[in-house]
Subunit: 190 residues, 2 copies
DNA sequence: CACTATAAACTAATGACATTAGTTTTGCAA
DNA sequence: TTGCAAAACTAATGTCATTAGTTTATAGTG
C-alpha cells in the first residue's frame, strides 16, 4: 500500500520458506515472492543478492530448523531410544517442510561457512547418539552416514511419492532401524 | 546446415540424457537441447510435447537403464551376495548418470504407466534377492523400502556433495549393508 | 516420373522470469 | 530542518517456453 514496505532479510526468508513448503521449491521465484510481499521484484535486491543467494539462505535456515527439531527430539537420550526419536523428528520435519527440507541437501554456493557448521553439528549429534554402540572412529562415520542416508532416503522417496504400496512408512522406518541397530550390536559377539 | 535434420524422439532423449549427465539436470532446456541438435527450439515440439514431457521421457529412460544395470549386476544371485552387487551397481549408476538418476525419483506427470511398471519391476527385484532372509510379506516390504532408501540416500547425498569427510563412501555402503543384513538374519533367533 | 499430402523444420510473437541501471522517495540523524 | 543513505520504484535487456502460422522436404500414390 505504501512505499517503505519495511522489508528485511528475515521477513523475506520466512515468506520464502512458507512459499517453498506450500507451493513447492520451484515455485519460489523472485516474482512470486515479491507478489506475496506486496513489492516489485527488483526491490528484493536491496536485501538479497539474487535467487541463488536466496536459496542458499533458505538452505541454512532449513538446516537450523532441522537441527533444532532433532536436538529437541533427542533430548538427553542416546542409543536406540535416541535414534528412534530422531528418526521420527527427521521424517516429521521432511513432511512438514518439504520445500525447505529438499534445500538442506543442496550444495550451497554461498553461506558455505554457516551451512558447513550446521552440517557438522548434525553429524556430531548422530555420532553422539550412536556412542553406546562402541564403534571405532571409522565405523562411527560409516554408521552415521548410513543413518543419515537411511533417513534421507525415506524422506526423499516419500516426498516424491515413491512409495506406492499403502503400508505405513513409519513402520518401515521403525523396522529398518531396529534391524540396522541390531546389526550394529551384533558386532560385539563376532 | 539443412532443413530436415532427421530428428526423432529417441535421438532427442539420448542427447537430452547426455546433457543432463554432463551439465546437470537444470541445464536441460529446450533451448540448450535444440542448440546441441542443430535445430531451433520450436522444432522440438514436433517430437515431444514440451519440457515437462521431455523430463518424463527422460525419467522413464533412466529407470530402464537403472533396471538393466541392476539386473545385470545381480545375475542369478540372491541374498547377501546379490545385495552387495546391486548396491555397487546402484551407486555406480548414480555416479555415471547423475542427471538421469535424479530424474528417476521424480513423480512423472506423464508416462505414468511405463514409469510405474519399471518401478514395480525394481521392487520385485529387491524382494527376490531378499527372499533368502525368510521375511514375512510385510517385513519384506519394509526391508525393500529400507534397502532402496539406504541406496538412494547414499547416492543422493553423495551426488549433492554432502559427505565431507574423506572416507571411502563405498566402504560406508558396504559396512552399513553388512550390518543391516546381519540384523535381518538375527531375527531368526529372537 | 510427376505430384501432392504430411510431417518437419522454420520465423515471428507472446509472456514469464531474473537481473541491471538509473530514478524517486522516505525516514532517520545531525 | 535538512540532507543523505537505504529502500523502493520504473524501464530495459536477455533468456527461456510455448503457440501460431509459414515454408519445405520427402515419402508414397497415381
Amino acid at each position: 500500500m505504501s512505499p517503505r514496505a519495511g522489508l528485511d532479510l528475515n521477513v523475506i526468508i520466512m515468506q520464502a520458506a512458507e512459499l517453498a513448503d506450500s507451493e513447492g521449491l520451484e515455485s519460489v521465484t523472485l516474482a512470486s515472492l515479491a507478489k506475496k510481499l506486496g513489492v516489485r521484484s527488483p526491490s528484493l535486491y536491496n536485501h538479497v543478492e539474487g535467487l541463488p543467494a536466496l536459496r542458499s539462505h533458505l538452505a541454512v535456515y532449513g538446516l537450523q530448523l532441522l537441527n533444532e527439531a532433532l536436538s529437541h527430539a533427542a533430548g538427553d537420550a542416546i542409543g536406540y531410544e535416541a535414534v528412534v526419536r530422531i528418526a521420527s523428528a527427521y521424517t516429521g520435519f521432511a513432511r512438514a517442510h518439504p520445500g525447505l527440507y529438499e534445500l538442506t541437501l543442496r550444495a550451497p554456493s554461498l553461506d558455505n561457512k554457516e551451512h558447513e557448521r550446521l552440517a557438522d553439528k548434525l553429524v556430531n549429534m548422530f555420532l553422539n547418539i550412536l556412542s553406546p554402540y562402541g564403534l571405532s572412529e571409522e565405523e562411527g562415520i560409516h554408521a552415521v552416514r548410513g543413518l543419515r542416508s537411511l533417513l534421507h532416503g525415506f524422506a526423499s522417496i516419500e516426498g516424491h511419492g515413491g512409495f506406492g504400496i499403502p503400508i505405513d512408512i513409519d513402520k518401515s522406518v521403525a523396522f529398518v532401524l531396529h534391524r540396522f541397530l541390531a546389526g550394529l550390536e551384533k558386532k560385539k559377539g563376532s
